[in-house]
Every structure is written in C-alpha cells, then in structure tokens.
Symmetry: C2
Subunit: 192 residues, 2 copies
DNA sequence: GCCAACCTACCTAGTGGTAGGTAAAATAGG
DNA sequence: CCTATTTTACCTACCACTAGGTAGGTTGGC
C-alpha cells in the first residue's frame, strides 16, 4: 500500500470513529508513521483529503453493494445484501466505526462545500441503488411496500434508518442491535 | 434568562449545527456576550457543560413529546405528534439543526463517559416512550405492525430512522424531505 | 541531474483551562 | 440600622497545547 493510500485509509478509519473534527493530521501522522508535513505534501489541505476520501468511499461502497447483491436470487435477498454492507462496517471495527458519509453528514455545518457535495452524492447514489433493489423485489414478488408509498420514498426511509441505526447501535447494543434492526425491516417488507 | 441558561442555550444551538467538536467556549462567549473565563465559572470543564446540556435536553424533549401527544385521539395521532417534535427541530432552525443527542451520538468516540451515558439515556427513554405509543396504537386499532415484530424493535427502527432522517434532510431536501419520511412511516404503520 | 517523496523547523490562530482580581449583592453581628 | 464579611458573577491576562499550514532542506531512485 502506497503512503498516499495509507493516509487515506488512516483518515477514513479515524473519521468513522471520531468524526472529521475529531481527527487531525497529527493523528494520521502517528498512525502512518510519517510527519505531519508529509501528509500536506499528498493532501495540501484537509479539505482536499476529505473530498478525495468521500469520492473513494462512495465507489468502494457501491462496489461492495454490487458484490453483495450480485448472486442474490431475488429482490429480498438483494435487500439483505445491501443491509449486510452496513453491518460489515460496524462489525469490522469492534462496533466503533459508522458509515463515513453518515458521520460527515452530521458535520455538514463545519465542512467545506465540495466535501458536502460529495456526501450528498453518496446519499443520492446509495438511495438510488436501494430504490432499484426495491423495484426488483416488488417486481419479482419477494417484497411488498405499503400502497401509495413510492420506491424512492421507501428507499429514503430505509437508508435514513440504516444511517441512524449505525449510530444507535454503536452507542449501545453493537452489531446484534443493528442486525435486529435490519431483520425488523425485512419482516416489514417481505411479502407474505 | 440567566447567564447560565443563555450559555446552555447557545451551546445547544451551536452543537446542533456544528457538533461538540465544532463548538468552542469562544463561540459561546461571542454569542452570549461574556468572556470565555466566565463560562468556565459556570461550567468548569466542557464536559460539565455537555453533561448538563444532555440532561436538560432529554427533559425538554420528553416534555415536548408529552405535549404533542396529550390531546391525540388515538395511537396513530400520538405517533404523528412524536414525529412533529423532530420536524420542529429542523423547522425552527432553517433546516440547520438536528437532534442534540443524535449529533452527540455521532461523536461518542470523542466524548467523555458521563456525556455518553446521558446520550444513551436519551435514546433509551425516547425509544421507550415511542414503544408506549405503538402499544396504544396497536391496542386501539389505529396502528398495525408486521407480525412477529415487537413494539420495542419497531420503536428502535422508527427512532433510528428519525435520527438518520434529520441528517439526510439537513444534507439535502430540508423540512419537506423530512415530512415525506414521516408520512411514509405513517403510511406503513397505519391500519387500513 | 532531476524530481518525487519525504524530512526538520517553523508559523499563526485557535483550544480548553487557570490564576488572580474586582464590583456588587447578599448576609450576617453588634 | 449600619458596618464587616462573604459570596456571586464576572473580568483581564495568561498558560500549555494543538490545529492546519508553510518554507526550505535532504534523500534516493530513474
């Protein structure tokens, strides 16, 4: 892994645990084993780092969703796969890390515009993907939405719940609590 | 309003917009119109401030929920009242402020233990209250949950969604988006 | 020799927090 | 009632430390 990648990786992990305002170049320098100034060589400003981080995170996230839904036999299974990507974030960090963009969404008030744009795009693309999964599930009969509820609105609701659920679960209850949440959703959405 | 209250009020508003790590004693001092040191007189450490803030916020929130549900004719109306308390947070701040404890939940990684305990209690009490509302609604026939879904789990899911929904809505879409989310929930939970 | 990738050494602007002082209000005691 | 003492609620001036950021030098591989 290149130094540049190591910096991005360290920053991502730190932000997922402590937030952008709780993470500093000094923290990264200690984790990566280089000086603070060397980070500025790769990312002149913190904002440069954040913007690139969000972009990369979005790609990795969507790719991971694609992987987790590729072999699913129906829409309900795809939905479970989508949930699994979120659960993995929490699980792969001893229940300490939440979604990078969920974290940054809570800090929009102290973020630069291009980072915020990146976070918005993450939300848009993710919800769009999720809405596509609902399309599939309703089409193949494995999922059923309340009548009058658009797939877009349902996806919005589910996605908010996942982001919020990560926060709740990290606060108390950890991975089991988060899995209970996703199970509840599947119970509500699966066709009988 | 006493200086002490003004400090708490200013801190609350700042945190709801920028987070605890994005708020400083200096910010408060400017808003309230006193010196930084005077804030330390009232709240020796930042942690003292945060802990008291969370406690007060929890009380006010629960009281507000009580007000918004008192005159509701059934469980579904009570649920709508609960949602309204969240919407009011966003609405009363030009769509810039989210729930104080939702904000702090995202910052648990850089918070002191007693503040975290307070945030946990906020979540527990709120979800408990929400579960009580679902009890009422299911009992009086105005709400219907998917079978096999406990009221506790449903409340957990709804609450996560509200906290996440505030973040999403602040990011993009504002109050209208948040209201669409709560409407979707009512559509899913209202008995036909 | 060049240039990328680092380094040391520094800067300015803030951070939470402390030391010590002061004016005014409350509260005694004779 | 009037003075003496304490308490409240602030202040100025500082502390040590950390923040993001910069200038310029060193090193090693092509």
């Amino acid at each position: 892994m290149s130094t540049r990648e190591a910096i991005l990786d360290s920053a991502r992990s730190l932000i997922q645990r402590r937030g952008t305002n709780g993470m500093s170049y000094d923290d990264i320098s200690r984790q990566v084993g280089i000086r603070k100034a060397s980070i500025h060589y790769h990312f002149p400003t913190k904002n440069d780092l954040l913007a690139e981080l969000v972009e990369g995170y979005t790609d990795v996230f969507l790719e991971s969703v694609a992987e987790h839904t590729r072999d699913a036999e129906n829409g309900a299974a795809q939905l479970a796969g989508f949930f699994e990507v979120f659960a993995a974030t929490l699980e792969g960090s001893n229940g300490c890390a939440v979604c990078l963009c969920g974290m940054m969404a809570s800090e929009v008030g102290s973020l630069n515009d291009d980072s915020v744009d990146g976070v918005r795009e993450f939300f848009r693309k993710s919800i769009e993907t999720l809405a596509g999964i609902l399309d599939v599930g309703v089409e193949d009969g494995s999922l059923r939405l309340a009548e009058g509820l658009s797939h877009q609105d349902a996806a919005d609701l589910i996605f908010s719940s996942l982001e919020g659920g990560l926060l709740s679960a990290r606060l108390e209850g950890g991975v089991p609590r988060f899995r209970r949440l996703t199970s509840s959703f599947l119970a509500m959405l699966k066709a009988p």
